[in-house]
Subunit: 237 residues, 2 copies
């Protein structure tokens, strides 16, 4: 926790917070080894960040006085369309991309996504939220990403994808063997599509290209999805 993320429930006054859940308390006691008087970085979910002073801590709660005055870091202007990874990689990928500042994530079914992945408990709202929180706490951010699940490829690409694109949006599909190298430091909003292990099938690539997406590659090397996601976001951002 490089930032303690406060929910509305944690605020007992506009400048005072009380943390009572076991996860954060344990982290404060065991990792931070926090003692009264310590200064830490805190932020309100969806809002400002700043510093807080630990006023009391025991086995049940920790109380902070707050001076919250900064905006959170700017978001990465990328909507990530990610073929649903297998559950363990999903968990890590959600943390990575949240830490990198992505605010819109669509998990997409594609031909090479195993259908069983959609049954994973990792897709439960509370599980996903836990990984997003870890990403925000890591990166010192407060703005929760939205995560949407699209279990049918064709209706998504044909019906809903056009509505997610503004005229300014640059659609990019990352796929080995595309002609162009991934562009760098793109200033427009981006819609970035990344396939599953094994890649998109040809039909899917064609659907994205017909929707105006540009195909890009990251070189000859085949990367794991979690490596590729971070590498693409770092290069585009």
């Amino acid at each position: 926790m490089n930032l303690i993320l406060l929910g509305a429930d944690d605020l007992i006054a506009s400048d005072h917070a009380r943390v009572t859940d076991p996860r954060r308390l344990r982290h404060l006691r065991e990792v931070h080894r926090a003692t009264v008087g310590d200064e830490m970085t805190l932020g309100i979910e969806g809002g400002v960040i700043g510093r807080g002073r630990l006023e009391s801590i025991d086995a049940e709660s920790a109380e902070f006085s707050l001076r919250l005055e900064h905006a959170p870091p700017p978001p990465l202007n990328v909507h990530l369309l990610l073929a649903l990874p297998r559950p363990r990689m999903l968990a890590r990928s959600l943390e990575h991309v949240t830490a990198l500042g992505v605010k819109h994530i669509t998990l997409l079914h594609t031909r090479r996504v195993e259908k069983s992945y959609w049954q994973s408990p990792e897709l439960g709202a509370e599980k996903i939220r836990q990984h997003l929180i870890l990403g925000l706490e890591q990166a010192r951010d407060t703005i929760m990403p939205t995560v949407t699940q699209e279990k049918l490829f064709k209706p998504f690409v044909e019906d809903r994808l056009p509505d997610l694109m503004t005229p300014a949006t640059r659609g990019i599909i990352a796929h080995p063997g595309m002609v162009n190298a991934c562009p760098r430091a793109v200033s427009e909003p981006i819609m970035l599509a990344i396939g599953p292990e094994g890649g998109f099938v040809d039909y899917e690539v064609e659907q994205f290209l017909s929707a105006g997406f540009q195909g890009v590659h990251l070189g000859e090397r085949i990367l794991r999805v979690e490596t590729a996601v971070t590498a693409l976001l770092a290069r585009l951002g």
Copy 2:
């Protein structure tokens, strides 16, 4: 395995290989569901890559006829100086950076590296080699990285670091709060220093800066080491 990496022991003729170890055999049978006649990508450790035809497969061995004709993908010209991560993150980081094409990795002790990490079985030569192989198999590469362990910061930075730098080498230390953003698409050879969770201490940063390193940051966000490593390599490469 996007590539089956063959050691000298696996070659039974210049154009014929036999794989007998349980890990690769299991992968061929259970993941690839390989059957006689299948064409696959293979490569010789330290050498060429190409295609092979599966000539036979059973519980004890798989035999391939080979047409090896391509050079492996070009390496990333970055020597990575990585403060030793905790064991689980080390394993993943070795795979990521190998897949990204790094060929020289120095694991370094710094003030905020827990001393106990140096006792981890993950640092055994055979364990490290396994992770490097996984990275090569993932990225379809054959050139094994070298991994050096430096358990004393000061003698390394003062005595050995200068010998690792050529006049053309650009030294870069990634550290939150540095003035310059990480440069993009650097063409010179790079020596890239990345700190542990919690970062380098001021003294260490100063040592690198005195050695001619340039301090760079990746933005306001604090990233986990494994995310930062991939993001930095993607941006520099």
